[in-house]
Symmetry: C2
Subunit: 193 residues, 2 copies
């Protein structure tokens, strides 16, 4: 998506070999105009899949999920909550998510009532690297008998395996920008399809 | 705001004397149509204050801040991050926020670059009870020489002192719904102005 690519190239910061900082327009400060155009891009990609619910995980995925849901005709948004501990609460479904960044495993959880059996779920998230968060959300959907009809990502790290694995599994995945590599602090994006 | 009041009366759950559960449409599952109408209500209230930035705190404030910012012409949104520890990072401003619900103090923080001196800040949050989160965000603004031109809240607990203190301090506060009391599990709302 051209506007996101330009924002990454002009404002994004690459650190080391694998850190992509976009917190000046995406996940600390939000460029609201860009956000809603991203929502429209995901809606154009996934409208044909007829999602009836947008799922994300707190915190920085929420803004993007809201923008996508709005562009799809104000679908409901559900955000999974993060917590360190496993609780045995019968009303919740849970899945583990390992964070390579923070070197720790968290649980994500969702109230069963908000992910009804048979839902057609569009997963939206800001980053896709190893794919752990998406895998966790897919597990929540599987536990509830809900169908994942698509996965929309803002920034995919193309040099990590998450995107490849999802595509190989036949998941309808759309990343609005794919980072090919980070070279001398510069973020190199993959050419658009 | 009539639609929010109706959602609270029809779907909200009161627990004990002071817990208001609205997670079925506001802060776990989001009713996106209602969310954007709330954004418009805040925009109508605060447009005249000429805010140039909407500030909230992760996680559940983010959706509401995005809706308000959109209705105000796609203003940037900045969300303060929560963390347990105090760090000495020169690029951040920090403020303590005591949570009566969780009986612990957290720090909220923001990158200085995203809260420029002289900004006209509209603070948006989901709940106002004792006012700790708003007070923390006001402290961040004061530390940066930014002006708080308004505070927009979804649900104010009128039986806790946060709202009264802000009004007494001359803050332009707009709560879209004010809970008067919880009686036998029923949420009693204050009559609208």
């Amino acid at each position: 998506m051209e506007q996101l690519r330009r924002a990454i190239e002009e404002q994004g910061v690459g650190i080391g070999r694998d850190v992509v900082k976009v917190d000046m327009f995406l996940n600390h400060r939000i460029d609201t105009g860009l956000l809603f155009r991203m929502g429209e891009a995901w809606a154009a990609e996934f409208r044909g899949e007829k999602p009836d619910l947008v799922l994300t995980v707190e915190a920085s995925g929420i803004a993007m999920a809201v923008a996508a849901a709005h562009a799809l005709g104000d679908l409901p948004v559900v955000f999974a909550k993060k917590s360190a501990a496993v609780t045995n609460n019968g009303d919740m479904v849970e899945a583990p998510v390992y964070s390579f960044t923070h070197k720790q495993q968290n649980m994500i959880r969702i109230d069963k009532r908000y992910l009804p059996e048979g839902s057609r779920v569009l997963i939206i998230d800001d980053f896709l690297a190893d794919g752990e968060a998406v895998r966790g959300m897919m597990s929540l959907c599987a536990q509830r008998g809900a169908e994942v009809v698509g996965v929309g990502i803002a920034v995919e790290k193309g040099f990590q395996p998450g995107g490849r694995k999802l595509r190989e599994a036949g998941i309808h995945l759309k990343s609005l920008a794919v980072v090919e590599e980070i070279r001398d602090g510069k973020i190199i994006l993959r050419e658009e399809d």
